[in-house]
Amino acid sequence: MSQERLIQLETDILAKNDRYAAANRAILADREILTLNFVSSPGSGKTTLLCKTIEALGDQPLAVIEGDQQTANDADRIRATGAKAVQVNTGKGCHLDGHMVGHAMEHLKLANNSMLFIENVGNLVCPAGFDLGEDAKVAILSVTEGEDKPLKYPDMFTASRMALLNKVDLAPYCDVDLDLYEENLRRVNPSIEIIRVSARTGEGMDVWLQWLRDRLAQKAKPEAAE
């Protein structure tokens, strides 16, 4: 006599992560904290761009969560700008997850109506699937990586609302076609927003900073009725 039975589930494999992410998102919404998840391959300029952004934003309250497999280098670089930062080392893990970010948020003592930047592990594949509770993913693509990267790694660019095409100062030296970068980004995500920037020269940074300020303004909850 067999006691076999079937248990119907229809459960998302990442349901646990999604629950952590939803809890983070609820806290961040309540406290009007604009949260961006920066994703890219290693070396595209995430940390440099974050440092320049923080400097340019001046006294805007903000904090940074740095994800890397090893070392606290990037959090140290961020702290050198005067901003609050916490490093999360993922060890063998190839991406940050909702649970890690929730813990990091507790350490940071976030200010209401501030910005929270999360630098994910440099990896164009895995972070796409793991919601952290962010408002949007911002993909960084540097012009030395090759115009076909959006086509080769479409998921990350599909999941992102904004793409920063970084290191445009190098474009004249490496035979790149910036329009083709944009065309390929729009091919995998027709609604993606794109800004050409250089963390080195500051080109395009004004447009990027304005985008950030607009997003923060949108994050404010409507005033409660009296």
Partner: protein, 113 residues
């Protein structure tokens, strides 16, 4: 990809279920994997055996069901099924498609003992 962490997710769900439904073994785990989920099926199979070791699902078979990729065409505004992420729209030939389905990674059911 992160097939190891996916399998850890599967193990957590199974262990929760084992507590709720009091079963002692799992014969088969059926998962639904979307065409655009990025899951490497061979890697998932391999990781599954490794991660289930020592759990109530040790030795269970993993059955993977493919779900099609679906996308919205920005040219003809049709929702279409496509095989590969970069395929043109089968209705109008357009090349601007936004995925709307096919990233599923779901545990459908468990055959338990």
């Amino acid at each position: 990809m992160h097939e190891m962490s996916l399998c850890e997710g599967i193990r957590t769900v199974i262990e929760d279920q084992a507590r709720q439904h009091a079963f002692n073994g799992v014969k088969c785990v059926r998962v639904e994997i979307g065409r655009f989920s990025g899951v490497e099926k061979d890697a998932l199979s391999f990781a599954f055996d490794v991660v289930m070791r020592g759990s109530v699902a040790e030795g269970a078979t993993l059955e993977m069901i493919d779900l099609p990729g679906r996308a919205m065409c920005y040219d003809c505004i049709h929702e279409v099924e496509i095989e590969n992420r970069l395929d043109p729209c089968p209705d109008c030939g357009g090349g601007k498609l936004m995925p709307v389905g096919g990233d599923e990674m779901r545990i459908k059911d468990l055959e338990v003992l």
